[in-house]
């Protein structure tokens, strides 16, 4: 079967090209779809298995990161029905949603993550980094055992963070609920891949070093770091040092570790549809 992935574009989404590439390298038929084409009904959500909300600066991050795009998605009508309802049905029908960086911020502000109580109410947020600035910095991540579909078989991963508003915040009760339900998928970590609260290992000051979470189904996943920016071994900032492990370039890994996240998604759809 052909796995179809919709990669949202337009309105200041920036990482749509590389996110679409990630899904096609993983074996999916991926398509960059402008949000207005989705609203106009030129493209139909139900014809896809996966939807990705890529990174970027939707609406320039004015009014807060991801806020204005979430407002658009929540209020848009597509052919008489609410786009947001369509998105909820999409999840209900066993399909997959991933939000990366700005896309994670959108999912959180839409109330699709973590959706502890119900979909549609914002329960957590991604606040200004403690450093109060945008930083492009590779981080080490510990991947926890959860039922997140996207991280199966991954225990640790290095990825770049590139944001100004990525500090995961929520009240203690909500954080406890996340842990209780095993929804904390990824944590910023030190060299031994143990969770770290120290800057710059934890680049933004996230509570409990939380870098990514999923909902209870494990099929909606959001993270601040960028797996689509590590599709090739040569994306890793240490690759000119790591390549010495290999005898020649043909031995070098053909792909980057970020690729696995997209492959997991495609494999899951192949198994379940």
């Amino acid at each position: 079967m052909k796995v179809k992935a919709l990669v949202l574009s337009g309105e200041g989404i920036n990482c749509d090209y590389e996110t679409a590439l990630a899904f096609s390298l993983a074996g999916a038929e991926s398509k960059r779809v402008h949000i207005n084409d989705l609203i106009a009904g030129w493209e139909k959500l139900e014809e896809f298995h996966i939807i990705a909300f890529p990174g970027g600066f939707s609406f320039g991050d004015h009014l807060g990161a991801g806020k204005a795009l979430a407002n658009k998605i929540k209020n848009a009508f597509s052919q008489g029905t609410k786009l947001f309802d369509g998105l909820k049905d999409f999840i209900e029908n066993g399909r997959l949603v991933i939000g990366i960086c700005n896309g994670f911020q959108v999912l959180v502000k839409l109330g699709l993550l973590p959706a502890l109580k119900a979909q549609g109410n914002q329960e957590v947020s991604l606040f200004f980094n403690d450093s109060a600035r945008f930083e492009d910095r590779w981080v080490k991540l510990k991947v926890n055992k959860t039922n997140c579909v996207f991280t199966r078989g991954i225990e640790r991963i290095d990825l770049p963070c590139r944001h100004a508003e990525g500090k995961f915040v929520a009240d203690r009760k909500t954080i406890n609920e996340l842990w209780k339900n095993s929804l904390v998928v990824m944590q910023y970590a030190d060299d031994s891949y143990n969770p770290s609260y120290r800057y710059p290992l934890n680049p933004n000051g996230s509570i409990d070093a939380i870098a990514g979470i999923c909902d209870k189904t494990g099929r909606v996943f959001g993270l601040m770091p960028h797996p689509e920016a590590f599709l090739f071994f040569e994306n890793h900032p240490q690759w000119t040092r790591l390549r010495n492990k290999f005898i020649n370039i043909d031995e070098m890994p053909k792909k980057g570790d970020g690729q696995k996240i997209f492959e997991n998604a495609v494999d899951y759809i192949k198994m379940h549809f």
Partner: protein, 990 residues
């Protein structure tokens, strides 16, 4: 009027306020106890309070981290001593306000009349009025674009709660066309040129005047209801088209050049030396990869059979001096548009930026009153570049910051962008474009305001309340991003014949230039969408409002194009039609306001004739006291602004969006070493990559601009080769920033000398490009590097930026600068000579010197070719070029980037004329690298390099010690690598 306010919840730390407080303490030494920030959105849109409260909660506020209010000030709930509110002046681009209005429209599902204006309140605890006003003036507000109010807590309670009045533009004038009688005295012509900042000489104005005396012209004009006098639109359009900026009059002038009492004529610096070099190289090249050079918005080279690369670097100096943030931001989005308008349009894949500032540590007293402090300029420009790249999703991958006091009053901001385009689009070669008669003129993107009309010159004029600000422009990245997405989609559907950006001169330039393709155009100004009413026809024609492109759309594709624009939320308007009349005609309603022959408009003025002279300066070598304190000299050098780590700046740029960046700006064991260039893998299914680098050194130009230019070219090429670029496939861009080189006995008495320096630099460009076999593909000049302050003229150092773009066959062989493992062999490639003229070492001794490094391009090319072969055979572990600080700095950077020690015997390096250890360590001779190689590859590496100057000088070691032996065999440097790294990192750690 309604007002929504939003701020961080009282029990959460106001991170941005706290960060601002830190900067205030560091930069101004003022210590407020706390700062809280409130964002306000004021609007003249009718709403019910209930509706607005719902919108405030759902659209404007993050329920987890923020609180909001409607029509009731949040400040009332906080203790504060001072409240400052800052908002924009009328007509200034307000990005947050625009998104707020759009979001309200989405929320209410209807189009709204009126506007939303954003403003910011700062609530200070502590401080006195004087201190608060100083903070506002020095750090928070810019009077050119913003207004503010400062209240004590009591004052605010009495009269501050309403906030700033709305910055609504009040339409002042009815459209009116003025005519000018140019049959007046020379003095009056000169006064007219000055008053309207036309930058035309009396001679040029007379040629313009005489055009209207031609009988044929008069007859045609009469038919259109025009008289024998030019209109304001005609005068302004002609001045703009014939400006230095558009026509590069100096670079095309006839020059009488005198050097050492020998005089000869040069017919065009550009034609002779820049395009001349490219032509010669292309003629003799077997694998010419130039596709389109010099005649488009960017230079275009072939990447592979199916793809081309377009590259352009622009300057945005004056705007950045007035408003550093807005200036740099518009610089970036502006050069992006050059790429979107190169051929049928390329997709931007990376940005570069090179910046020249005064020292950020300059004491306040040394800064003239009307000039912004270099630290403020640096921070503002940096933020503009961050937003320009990050928000549009283009990685900022390469750049330099150079500090010199001559840039205090006139900073330089070079912005570059490279784009990738399929070589064939819808069966057409994508680098060609031609507007056809009958094609519609369509303006796409932002609206027109008074932004940038006559640029900086209006900034000093007093503006009445309610009149829109024209001095500086602020970019709107999201508007441009939408337009970029749309244009690439429309290009791939083949919906337009031609495209160009609206930069300097606005529509007058874009339509005036595209009209040459079809040989005529008619423009309908009344149709152009305006930001606010009240613009005169000539202002609509000349406005430099941002985020606009002009397209030629065939009539049969117009409907499809316009509906695509609507679907993408991009405004597009038909504003005229291309024809083959031979004329540029501009109408406002039924009235013709401009009618000029295209030939006269573009070619009406004769070449400028200029004089230039040059004689070698009488510099001496300084007397250097013999010292053995090299470790402390080295530490000082590593902390020097022109050597130290720029991580604070670079880390805040997204350098890997799009997922292509392979050699990033910061690499090494801890991802913090300074890369020589950036390498990108630009296609998913190809290992071939792009390399980008730059070369610049204004200090060498103090001695001789010839050698400065040669060194810039060598440095750019060498940086690219160090990371893996193929020396056979590199192309160059030149950007000259020079003080005015046009002689004037009163205003510019040393103009001939400045032009002489320009001639020398251009000659070196010719010689070096040909010897390296590396063509120029595009370039730009800005010859207004002067600024008069209180009657004193300040001029920049003549500056040449060379940007190099190269190809690497397989990015998997790319090399970073950091030493990799202990026990690797260290090689120095190239000859070290007694060439410390202009070196950092001499500068630290308060001298310039004489012996500027000399480039031997033929010899260097041979070495670079051999090195490239070694790199592509996988033999090179690390490679770093030697520049400021010479061999000493290059060795230390190699060591600390890899966190290893080095044992080096410098007596072994290839040298010539070296007598002292300090010459050995700190000479800045060109053409040199520090390379590390695995022991097992020694023979193969040396075999490939044989016939070149190189030497094995030592080994990397596991301990973090740097041991360098000098000429006599004694240790001249013994230092701890961590200490050296700290010295390098501490200067700009903000």
């Amino acid at each position: 009027m309604h007002r929504i306010e939003v701020c961080t919840k009282p029990d959460l730390k106001d991170v941005i306020g706290a960060s601002l407080r830190r900067s205030i303490m560091e930069d101004l030494g003022i210590r407020p106890q706390s700062i809280r920030i409130i964002k306000a959105f004021s609007m003249d849109i009718p709403f019910s309070i209930k509706q607005l409260e719902s919108a405030a909660k759902k659209v404007f506020t993050d329920p987890i981290t923020q609180i909001c209010s409607v029509n009731s000030p949040l400040a009332a709930g906080f203790d504060f001593d001072w409240l400052v509110e800052i908002g924009f002046k009328p007509g200034v681009t307000d990005n947050e306000g625009r998104t707020a209005k759009e979001s309200l429209e989405i929320f209410t599902a209807k189009k709204l009349n009126g506007s939303v204006f954003s403003s910011t309140q700062y609530l200070f605890v502590g401080g006195n009025r004087e201190e608060i006003e100083l903070i506002v003036e020095k750090m928070l507000a810019n009077p050119l674009i913003e207004r503010w109010q400062v209240f004590s807590a009591d004052e605010w309670k009495l009269r501050g709660k309403r906030g700033l009045p709305l910055p609504i533009v009040i339409a002042q004038k009815k459209p009116k066309v003025k005519e000018f009688n140019l049959n007046v005295s020379d003095e009056k012509l000169e006064a007219l040129s000055e008053m309207r900042t036309l930058s035309l000489t009396v001679q040029e104005l007379k040629i313009f005047r005489d055009y209207f005396k031609n009988k044929d012209v008069l007859k045609k004009r009469k038919k259109l209801g025009l008289k024998g006098n030019p209109t304001d639109a005609e005068l302004e359009c002609f001045a703009q088209t014939q400006s230095e900026h558009c026509k590069h009059k100096v670079f095309n002038s006839l020059i009488k050049y005198t050097e050492e009492s020998r005089t000869h004529k040069i017919d065009g610096l550009f034609k002779t030396f820049i395009a001349g070099a490219t032509q010669k190289i292309r003629n003799s090249s077997k694998n010419d990869f130039c596709v389109s050079v010099f005649n488009d918005n960017a230079g275009i080279i072939a990447f592979d059979e199916n793809h081309n690369l377009a590259f352009k670097v622009e300057t945005h100096n004056s705007p950045s001096a007035l408003d550093p943030y807005g200036g740099a931001l518009t610089g970036i989005v502006g050069v992006n548009r050059d790429i979107l308008g190169a051929g049928l349009g390329a997709k931007p894949i990376f940005n570069t930026n090179v910046l020249c500032f005064g020292s950020p540590f300059t004491s306040e007293e040394k800064i003239p009153k009307t000039v912004l402090h270099p630290k403020r300029v640096l921070k503002g420009v940096r933020l503009g570049i961050e937003h320009g790249g990050n928000r549009i999703g283009i990685p900022t991958v390469n750049g330099t910051v150079f500090f010199d006091d001559s840039f205090i009053v006139r900073p330089l901001v070079f912005c570059g962008t490279c784009g990738l385009m399929p070589s064939i689009v819808k069966g057409k070669r994508s680098h060609l474009k031609k507007a056809m008669p009958g094609d519609k003129i369509v303006m796409v993107g932002g609206r027109i305001g008074k932004d940038g009309i006559h640029g900086a010159t209006f900034s000093s004029m007093k503006l009445a309340e309610g009149s829109p600000v024209s001095a500086v422009q602020i970019g709107a990245p999201i508007v441009q991003k939408r337009m970029q997405d749309l244009l690439l989609e429309a290009r791939d559907k083949g919906l337009f014949d031609s495209i160009t950006d609206n930069g300097a001169g606005g529509l007058s330039s874009s339509v005036g230039e595209m009209a040459l393709q079809s040989n005529g155009a008619e423009l309908w100004l009344e149709r152009a969408p305006l930001k606010y009413p009240g613009l005169q026809p000539w202002e609509i024609l000349l406005s430099e409002a941002q985020e606009r492109m002009t397209l030629a759309v065939p009539p049969e594709k117009l409907d499809e194009f316009l509906s695509l624009c609507r679907e993408r939320d991009v405004e597009a308007t038909v504003i005229g039609e291309f024809n083959d009349s031979g004329f540029f005609q501009v109408k406002y309603g039924k009235k013709t306001v401009l009618f000029l022959s295209l030939d006269f408009l573009h070619n009406g003025l004769p070449k400028m004739e200029l004089e230039a002279e040059w004689s070698a300066p009488n510099f001496k070598e300084p007397a250097i006291e013999n010292t053995t304190e090299f470790t402390s000299v080295l530490k000082k050098m590593l902390s020097h602004l022109n050597v130290c780590s720029k991580e604070w700046i670079v880390r805040q740029y997204d350098h890997e969006v799009l997922g292509n960046t392979i050699i990033k700006p910061l690499m090494g064991k801890y991802n913090d070493g300074p890369s020589d260039s950036a390498v990108l893998k630009v296609l998913p299914d190809s290992w071939q990559g792009v390399v980008v680098s730059n070369g610049m050194n204004p200090v060498f130009g103090e001695i001789d601009t010839y050698h400065m230019a040669a060194n810039c070219i060598d440095e750019a090429i060498r940086n690219a080769v160090a990371s893996g670029a193929d020396p056979e496939r590199i192309a160059l861009l030149d950007n000259f920033c020079w003080p005015d080189p046009k002689f004037d006995s009163k205003k510019n008495p040393d103009g001939k000398k400045k032009l002489g320096k320009l001639v020398r630099a251009c000659r070196a460009c010719f010689d070096s490009a040909i010897e390296f076999g590396v063509p120029f593909i595009s370039g730009k000049d800005s010859l207004s590097g002067d600024r008069e302050i209180n009657g004193v003229k300040h001029s920049i150092k003549p500056t040449l930026l060379i940007s190099a773009i190269g190809l690497i066959e397989d990015v998997r062989f790319a090399v970073s600068i950091d030493a990799k493992h202990p026990g690797d062999l260290i090689y120095v490639l190239g000859v070290t000579r007694n060439e410390l003229g202009g070196s950092l070492f001499y500068q630290m001794h308060g001298a310039i010197g004489k012996s500027v490094p000399v480039v031997n391009a033929k010899k260097f090319k041979k070495l670079y070719t051999a090195l490239h072969k070694a790199i592509m055979n996988g033999l090179v572990q690390s490679c770093h070029d030697c520049s400021e600080g010479g061999l000493a700095v290059a060795l230390v950077e190699t060591a600390f980037s890899g966190m290893l020690g080095l044992n080096v015997d410098l007596s072994k390096i290839p040298m010539n004329g070296i007598e002292e250890d300090w010459q050995l360590l700190f000479s800045e001779s060109a053409g040199r690298f520090v390379v590390t190689v695995k022991k097992e590859n020694q023979n193969e590496f040396e075999g490939l390099l044989s016939g070149n100057d190189f030497a094995l000088v030592g080994e990397t070691i596991d301990s973090l010690d740097l041991l360098v032996l000098g000429l006599s065999g004694d240790a001249i440097i013994e230092a701890d690598v961590i200490e050296l790294k700290n010295a390098w990192q501490k200067t700009l750690k903000w």
